[in-house]
């Protein structure tokens, strides 16, 4: 068996930290021991997050990030705001009513419908749900959106696991 990675068990309460800070606290960030491999994971996860927000409309990704956080029960991500997304607190507060609230446009709705299906049962997303996203974003835009969504969802799920493992809920 390979040697076990030594996680820092004294990370303290994670509840009030941003997800980025949680990642740094758990994986070690710049202080991580490269021999353990954790530093590589931390760096790649950070790079993927930056690339996701650059490849997709920050407005769309922010709406979908908060919707994922609500569905998965991640309070830290529900309360967090991404600087520069251009989405108001009022709109994020109304995100549960996206199907009927007129402040959400057709692109918002297409992407939020996709996101909900993605979180609940990713393998059963139907053609129409994908087509609605493609209609507005095009093929490459849709591909970038889905990959960006994957990054956002992974970070939230990781945070939920770490919150439960190391405390903070």
């Amino acid at each position: 068996m390979p040697d076990c990675v030594s996680y820092d068990r004294s990370v303290g309460s994670l509840g009030q930290l941003t997800t980025e800070d949680v990642i740094t606290r758990v994986l070690g960030g710049d202080r991580a021991d490269h021999r353990s491999g954790l530093a590589d994971v931390s760096e790649q996860l950070r790079a993927a997050n930056e690339a996701a927000w650059a490849a997709t409309s920050p407005r769309l990704l922010e709406l979908c990030r908060v919707r994922i956080a609500i569905l998965l029960g991640c309070a830290g991500e529900v309360d967090a705001r991404t600087p520069g997304s251009g989405v108001s607190d009022d709109l994020l507060g109304a995100i549960r009513s996206w199907p009927t609230d007129p402040r959400f446009d057709v692109l918002d709705r297409a992407c939020l419908a996709f996101t909900e299906h993605y979180v609940i049962d990713v393998a059963s997303i139907d053609d129409d749900t994908v087509a609605a996203v493609r209609e507005h974003l095009g093929d490459e835009g849709a591909a970038n959106f889905v990959n960006s969504l994957l990054v956002v969802e992974q970070r939230i799920r990781l945070r939920l696991v770490w919150d439960r493992l190391f405390g903070g809920m």
């Binding site: 068996m1 076990c4 990675v5 990713v122 393998a123 591909a143 990054v151």
Partner: protein, 54 residues
């Protein structure tokens, strides 16, 4: 379950994002925390869950 492609052939993901995602997956698999067999079982389970044939 086999599905037809939902995007046009040749559609590519943003290069920086694709590289970073691949790097994250590779760095995770390289971690010595979990033995290779368990890692592979988890990888296959994730692929099945995501309906990913690649």
């Amino acid at each position: 379950m086999e599905r037809s492609a939902r995007v046009a052939p040749g559609t590519s993901v943003d290069g920086t994002l694709r590289t970073a995602l691949g790097g994250f997956a590779a760095a995770t698999v390289r971690l010595p925390t979990v033995d290779p067999v368990t890692t592979e079982i988890v990888r296959l389970r994730c692929a099945h869950h995501h309906d990913c044939g690649t």
